[in-house]
Amino acid sequence: MEKIAHSLLRDMKTKPADAQIPVIVKYGKFHKRPLETLLAGTRPSRTFRIIHAAALTTTPKVIESLSRDPDVERIWPDLPVRVCLDASVPLIGAPQVWEAGYTGKGVKIAILDTGIDPYHPDFAGRIAAAADFTGEGPQDQDGHGTHVAGIAAGSGRASKRRYRGLAPEASLYIAKVLGREGAGLMSDVMAGIEWAVEQEVDIINLSLGGAPPCDGTDALSETCDVAVEKGYVVCVAAGNGGPAPYTIGPPGCAKQVITVGASTDQDEVADFSSRGPTTDGRIKPDILLPGASIISCRAKDTSLGNPVGENYTELSGSSMATPHASGIAALVLQARPELTPAQLKALLMETALDLGLSPNDQGAGRADAYAAYLEELTPVTPSPGGKGCLLRLLGL
C-alpha cells in the first residue's frame, strides 16, 4: 500500500469497489513481462518513456493488487489538469469550500512581509490598509510579500483564475516588515503584529523566521502568543532548515501559533521543511501544507523565483506553505466566525491528512480546507470561573 500516493489512497477509500479511477503506474525499467500482464490485464490508455509508466483507468481492487507487484514502483492519481486552478489549491480541497459559498469575504488577513504590489490585478479593490515599518515605503521591491499575499487571497484575475489563492475575496492588510533584501528585525515584525492587532484583523500571516533553534520564549514568539490570546489567528512558517531536527526558528516555536511546514503536491514532506522538536521538547510543526513550486503573484519590476509571464512567478519554501494555512483559516472563519484561534488550530490539526511520518516532520499531517470546513466541532461549554473540572473539584 505504501506504493500508492496518499491522495489516491484517500480517494480509493471514499469510492465504491467497482469505481473506475484514472491512475499512472510507474514500473521498473527492467521488467520482462508484457505490459498488459504487468498491469493485471488492464489496457493502458497511454504509455510514457521519460519515466517508465502507463496511464490507465481501473478499480480500487486492481490498484491494490498492482501495488503488491514487485515490478510496480509507484501509483499516482491521474489528476485532471484544470485551466482555472493551480495544483495546490484543489489538492487541499479549497474549491469545494468555495462551492459551498465561502471565499473569505469579510475576513481580514494581515500579511507581514516585504510589502505588496498594490497595482497587481489579483488584489484589485481588496487592500484595505498598508503600513511600512522598514522606512522603504509599502511597495514590494523584493516580490516575496506579493507572492505570499497571492497564495492567501489572490483572485487569479490576471490568469483567468488559474492561479487563484485560497480566500479570493478576503480583505488584505499589508505590513511591510522586511526590506528589499527580504530581511528585517524582530522588533519590526513585533511592531507589525501590534499594527495588525490595532487594525482588528482576523488572521496574521508570518512567512518569515529567525535562526534556529528556539524554545518559544524570545520576544517575537511571545508577542505572537499574546496576539493569539487576544483572539488573533497567527500562522507562522516553520523554516527551510530541514531535514535535520531542531531546525525551527522563532517565531515558529511559539506555543499557540499555527506553525506550518511545507509539503509537496505528492503529499510528502518537502526535504527543506524545518523539523521539530523545539529546544524545550515540544512537537513542531503543527501542520504541513504545499510549499514546493508554487506559482503565485509576481510584483512589478521584481525577478524573484522563476517568473511565469508578467504577473506570476514560482517559488518554494515554508513561506509558501504558510499563506495556504492563512487562506484556509479565512474560509473556515467566514463559515464559523465563532471559532477561537485555539479551536481553529485544533480543527486544522484534527482534520489533517496523516502522512504516516514522525510528528516532528509532519505535525498532525497535511491540512485540508474541505475536511476542516466539514468537521463538526464539539461545542465548548465554558466552565464556571474559567477553570477546568479537576481544578473545580479540588476547589482551586
Partner: protein
Amino acid sequence: MGKIDRSFKRRLMKEPETKVRLIVRTRDEPKTYRSLLARRGIKVKRELALIKALAIECEASAALALLREGWVVSLEEDSEVRALT
C-alpha cells in the same frame, strides 16, 4: 532564566564599544522608561506594548549597565528575521 542569555552577555562583555540592537522587556509600561534611556544616550527605536518592551540601540557597555536596573525584566538581541523562500 536570568535577565540575559549567558553567551550573549559574554559577547557584549567582549566588545563593550560595539553598537548593538536590543529588545528590553520592562516591568511597567515601556513609555515610562523612554526619557530615562534618552538621558543615557540610548536610542529608543520602538515601543512594543503587547509584551511591554522597547527596541533600543546602544553600545554594549550601556546594555550591560541596564542589567542592574530593577525595571529591566530581560535583554535580548533584536535579531534578524528573513523571508523563508
